[in-house]
């Protein structure tokens, strides 16, 4: 009686509601876009209205923002941070650099497609997206969470081998702790 589909549905609705309205964003920025986060959080655009607040460490965070171009050296750190975060976790890619390389597409040290290395739930386009666009991205993410479609963390676990192969193609000297699924 307690474990049937119907009651699970109710639990899911409550869970997703809580998850949607309480997004802890890891304070970590990679590219130009890190500078768009302070205005998004402070008085002018006030993202705390949506329950979005900063978290200092990966253990406490739900959302990882990849704010712009991602150097191969940073990718190593990003993967580690991502694997340290606790499920469920979401990733947002900012700007054209994260989507297809942007103006750094032919640089020897920035990756071009973020979603080949870690699963991305929402992309925001622009170079750089303004705070309004960032907030729109967050609202989109909330919608996905409500519908249960923001399942990047699940995909990462299921397709771990594929992601690992892609990551190892770039990080040739792989010295990282094991991913604890």
């Amino acid at each position: 009686m307690y474990n049937d589909k119907e009651s699970q549905k109710i639990v899911d609705i409550i869970q997703n509601f809580a998850r949607k309205h309480s997004l802890f964003v890891l304070a970590y920025g990679t590219g130009c876009g890190a500078i768009e986060i302070p205005p998004t959080m402070t008085s002018r655009y006030d993202a705390e209205r949506f329950g979005i607040r900063g978290a200092a460490t990966p253990r406490q965070a739900d959302v990882l923002l990849i704010t712009g171009y991602l150097a191969t050296k940073t990718l190593k750190r990003v993967i580690r941070v991502y694997e340290q975060m606790q499920d469920p976790k979401y990733v947002m890619g900012f700007g054209s650099c994260a989507i297809n390389g942007g103006m750094y597409w032919d640089s020897y040290n920035t990756i071009n497609m973020l979603d080949k290395y870690i699963p991305v739930d929402v992309y925001i386009n622009g170079c750089m997206p303004r705070p309004e666009a960032v907030i729109a991205g967050f609202v989109k993410l909330q919608k996905l969470i409500q519908e249960g479609k923001a399942d990047g963390w699940d995909r990462y676990k299921k397709n771990l081998d594929e992601y690992r192969a892609n990551q190892k193609k770039i990080i040739t000297n792989w010295v990282m702790p094991d991913f604890n699924r």
Partner: protein, 302 residues
């Protein structure tokens, strides 16, 4: 038999009340700070959502036994302190264990939680945690001294160490201890922001420099337990202050009004303050608060 039933129900009710009130106060704090910064701010029930979400997160971190126990230790401390504090002056449900413990016991049990937290944080092996713990203990040495002096002054002046005894004396005299022993009140009040760890005394979990300090390795359910414990403990501290200095409360509405008024003091101070460094905080506590503590002791003794 009936008595025990009432007692258990009362204990549950008290905990629930402390949790709810503490959570709403934290929500109000976020809202008030947002309004001061000219923002809209999150809804007042935001902290409930946070706790719910943190509870629904998976946790796959293991650093050792003490790391798993630390949040439990904290919440044990909060609830047991709550049990020994008279929430209302009289009443069926909120009596709990008021008559068993006295102020000295309370002082002891209130540092029990941070100690467990320090052990747990130490085991995670995160350097930020270690720095945070050492800062926290330093700060505790800072604010505990004026605070204990104020309480000892009360004990000497009224020749009792029991909280209920002090409450009775206040209702017999018809005046609050805030007015009958003002020096002790000032010392305790000046030490209060340190106890709450809001700005400018948030040096323990400074997010920008320490990555939230001792709790930096705790996420998910651990963090939600800590938030719960924190909100219960905030209520405990406020109630203790109200009991000692503001004549207690005879019904819940009075209690909420008094504690909220008291709560506004660290919140509003924190909303407009930057952060102290550790030695600045200690220097502050060993300045005027200590002076008033001494003055209260001398006033009580003679």
């Amino acid at each position: 038999m009936e008595g025990i039933g009432y007692k258990i129900l009362g204990a549950l009710l008290t905990t629930l009340l402390a949790f709810t009130v503490g959570m709403f106060y934290a929500g109000f704090r976020r809202k008030i700070i947002a309004r001061i910064q000219n923002r809209v701010g999150p809804p007042v029930y935001q902290n409930f959502l946070d706790v719910l979400k943190l509870l629904s997160k998976k946790t796959s971190v293991n650093h050792g036994i003490m790391q798993h126990l630390a949040p439990l230790w904290l919440i044990t401390m909060s609830v047991s302190t709550l049990m020994f504090i008279p929430v209302l002056k009289d009443g069926l449900f909120f009596t709990n264990l008021n008559f068993s413990g006295d102020l000295i016991f309370l002082l002891y049990i209130m540092v029990f939680g941070p100690l467990g937290m320090a052990l747990g944080a130490g085991q995670t092996g995160n350097p930020n945690s270690a720095i945070g713990v050492s800062r926290g203990l330093t700060q505790m040495v800072g604010f505990e001294i004026p605070w204990i002096m104020a309480i000892v002054a009360l004990m000497i002046q009224y020749k009792t160490t029991s909280v209920t005894g002090l409450l009775d004396i206040q209702s017999q005299n018809g005046t609050w201890m805030m007015f009958s022993s003002p020096l002790a009140f000032i010392a305790a009040l000046l030490a209060m922001p340190g106890m709450f760890r809001y700005a400018p005394f948030d040096i323990v979990g400074a997010p920008a420099e320490l990555a939230s300090g001792p709790i930096s390795e705790f996420g998910g359910k651990y963090l939600s337990t800590m938030m719960t414990s924190g909100s219960i403990f905030a209520f405990v501290k406020l109630t203790l202050y109200v009991d000692l200095f503001m004549g207690g409360a005879s019904n819940l509405i009075e209690l909420v009004i008094k504690t909220f008024a008291l709560y506004m003091y660290p919140v509003l101070w924190g909303a407009v303050s930057p952060r102290f460094r550790t030695e600045q905080a200690v220097r502050y506590f060993w300045g005027w608060p200590l002076f008033f503590g001494f003055a209260a002791l001398i006033y009580a003794a003679f």
